[in-house]
Amino acid sequence: MNFDFSEEQVLLQEQARKFLADACPADLVRSALHDDAPYNEELWKGIVEMGWTAATIPEEYGGLGLSYLELVVIAEELGRAVAPVPFSSSVYLATEALLLAGSEEQKNLWLPKLADGSAIGTFALAEGRGRYSPDGIYTGFSNGKISGEKSVVSDALAASFCITVARDSNSNEVGLYLVTLNQDQAISQQALNTLDMSRSHSSIHFDGADAQPLPAGSTDSACLIDQLLDRAAVLFAWEQIGSADATLEMARDYSLERYAFGRQIGSYQALKHKMAHMYAKNTLARSNCYYAAWALNTNAPELPVAAATARVSATQALFFSSKENIQIHGGVGFTWEYDCHLHYRRARLLAVNIGSEFTWQDKLVSATQQAA
């Protein structure tokens, strides 16, 4: 059994961590909460130069053809750094959607651009508040045009195109559509204030915008969306576990340097045990992420169960560790200058992107029922 990363993957991780420590310090994230830019272009450029956007794109489409084990390593480090870039939208969702369901023409057109950073993609699923279900999709596709309202969409203000979930008015089936976002007459976007302004969010109004269906091959289109979400869930979970471990380290370090009542605060059981529980939750989630990474990488039939397990446990671990990290810091943990809130905000973004803990708990049980 080899349930671990290779030496090359460990090396990649060290390289990624070093790059992000330089290129994405906490102050950069903090200032991204303010500025109006939808993402940090300089950091994004660096990420593209590192080849991360090209990682899992096959070489024939201008990518590096690396495995998903490389991509999860990158995801973890981006989570640890709370990077203010549209990586999850463009790589975990748009790129994956094209790889899963794009036509040869679509792949030839877009994958090289995604790989070399000349395009950013995103994914539009939600239509208002509440849990996604195919029945709740009202955005319609007809005669090559798409109309409707998608909200909330992550990173669309940064993106060149958007993989959009819509209903074909002929077949009444829900499927994926590629829509370029530079259609000024037919698309309007409204920027939204959010809990994590270091990433941009908007609502998109499509009014007869040009759209191309993703042909999806032999897969039924509802299954396709589930497949896409399962694959993305693994990558999101790795980002979450990266952030969760960073918060545990912050908490531990602070608890060693801070004194109260003549002792390091880390010597009090109330905090020691809190951190032991943070560690336990993070470790369980990380181990589930390992399993999910294996399932993603081998496209194993266990993927739906493994993805949901990783996603639920990583969401829970990050919520717990990001909030208790503030608590362990006390007053300063709630200041703008300390980094605790960056993770607390991002934790929330990651928790509701692609479906909440609560939605994935349900999926997890469904997946075990189907596997049985």
Partner: protein, 404 residues
């Protein structure tokens, strides 16, 4: 067991209700964007009508009301939420009772200081916490050195609310670093316009700036502004903190059961209102149990007051449980909205108060004593469990690891 007033209580309630009906200022007539400026005219009217700080003795601006009368007054006043004068509570609920206790023998000083607190003319800032302090308040390092009939204060305070508007500050200082830390402290009050004071707002994680850092450089404070004896500062400060704990709590940022139920009726899961989902129901039920339990606990305390008894220790759980449970349920509310849970639309408060609460609640679990400190208090003062061994008890302050 009933929910009725005694005849005396009913009469008092009627009187309060009538006065409020006749005198309450409509929301539209409040002016200014700062709550202190906004509410000053109302506080003035309360004071002139005899309804400010009603439990204080008459000579200091109150009407010598009983604890249950104060409860009734608060209940009646709560029907006018736009007139909630909590921005004045440092002076009214914390400083004033402490001054009355420790300056009991100086009624002329109290006659100078207390009425302007009741009338809202003068507000106070508490200058206790320090960067190195936190839960361990007594580890403070701000020095006060004797200089003739005055003290020279140097150092830094933090987490001071509304320092800019304050006329007066109430500060605890270290006057002797060579004795164990609790023994070398002294409390003073000071005019915040004294030279040498610098106030800098602290930007919070939620983007607001409710608190300040306050720096002291050779600030001179006359010794006759000392509260309590030299070296008695810890006792004075603890008295004030116990008033703070009573005054605090109850803020839920709008996260209550009704708001949740409304949300769960609006958002859908698989085409049905979320409130039909069993997991949503379980979470709602658990939160209702906490909310109703705290409300009923308060009612038990009020009953005790009504009978002239001590309200007991039950309410001490409030601070311990409300923050963490509200944080959980706010997160769950955002989960219910799914992708839209991230949106914080500041233009329409009601549509995003769960988000605002989510961002602000961490401070609720820290300010005025962390959850962990509150649990210590419950364990020690209610259950009688032993304190932890103290390594800093008998060591001179300047020899402690954090006291350098």
């Amino acid at each position: 067991m009933d929910f009725n007033d005694t005849p005396e209580e009913a009469a008092f309630r009627q009187k309060a209700r009538n006065w409020l009906a006749e005198n309450a200022i409509p929301e539209s007539e409040l002016e200014g964007d700062n709550l202190i400026h906004r509410h000053r005219p109302w506080l003035k009217r309360l004071y002139e009508g005899g309804w400010s700080c009603i439990s204080w003795p008459k000579r200091y601006g109150g009407q010598g009301a009983s604890p249950i009368q104060e409860v009734i007054w608060n209940q009646e006043q709560s029907h006018y939420p736009h007139l909630k004068t909590h921005r004045f509570s440092v002076g009214q609920k914390m400083v004033a009772p402490t001054l009355m206790e420790f300056l009991e023998d100086r009624p002329e000083t109290l006659e100078r200081l207390l009425p302007p607190i009741a009338s809202g003319d003068e507000t106070w800032v508490q200058l206790f916490s320090e960067p190195a302090g936190g839960s361990d308040l007594a580890a403070l390092r701000t020095r006060a050195e004797r200089d003739g009939d005055a003290w020279l204060v140097n150092g830094q305070k933090i987490w001071s609310s509304h320092a800019v508007e304050a006329k007066w500050g109430f500060i605890v200082t270290r006057t002797d670093p060579t004795v164990p830390k609790h023994k070398g402290l002294t409390c003073l009050y000071l005019d915040m316009e004294n030279p040498g004071i610098e106030i800098r707002p602290i930007k919070q994680a939620n983007g607001e700036s409710e608190f300040n850092e306050v720096f002291f450089a050779d600030v001179r404070i006359p010794d006759n502004q000392r509260v309590g004896q030299v070296g008695q500062g810890w006792e004075v400060a603890v008295t004030m903190l116990s008033h703070e704990r009573l005054a605090m709590g109850g803020e839920n940022f709008g996260v209550d059961y009704e708001a949740l139920r409304k949300l769960a009726g609006e958002v859908c899961i698989d085409g049905r209102p979320a409130i039909e989902n069993a997991q949503v129901r379980a979470k709602l039920a658990d939160f209702y149990c906490v909310e109703a339990g705290l409300r009923a606990t308060t009612n038990r305390a009020i009953s005790a007051l009504s009978k002239g008894k001590n309200p007991g220790s039950e309410t001490s759980i409030n601070n311990m449980v409300i923050g963490a449970s509200t944080q959980e349920i706010a997160a769950f509310a955002l989960d219910l909205m799914e992708q839209a849970g991230i949106v914080l639309d500041e233009s329409t408060q009601e549509s995003s108060f769960f988000q605002q609460a989510f961002l602000s609640i961490p401070s609720m679990r820290i300010a005025g004593g962390t959850d962990e400190i509150q649990a210590n208090i419950v364990a020690e003062s209610v259950l009688g469990l032993p304190r932890e061994p103290r390594v800093d008890k008998n060591v001179p302050f300047n020899e402690l690891p954090g006291g350098k």
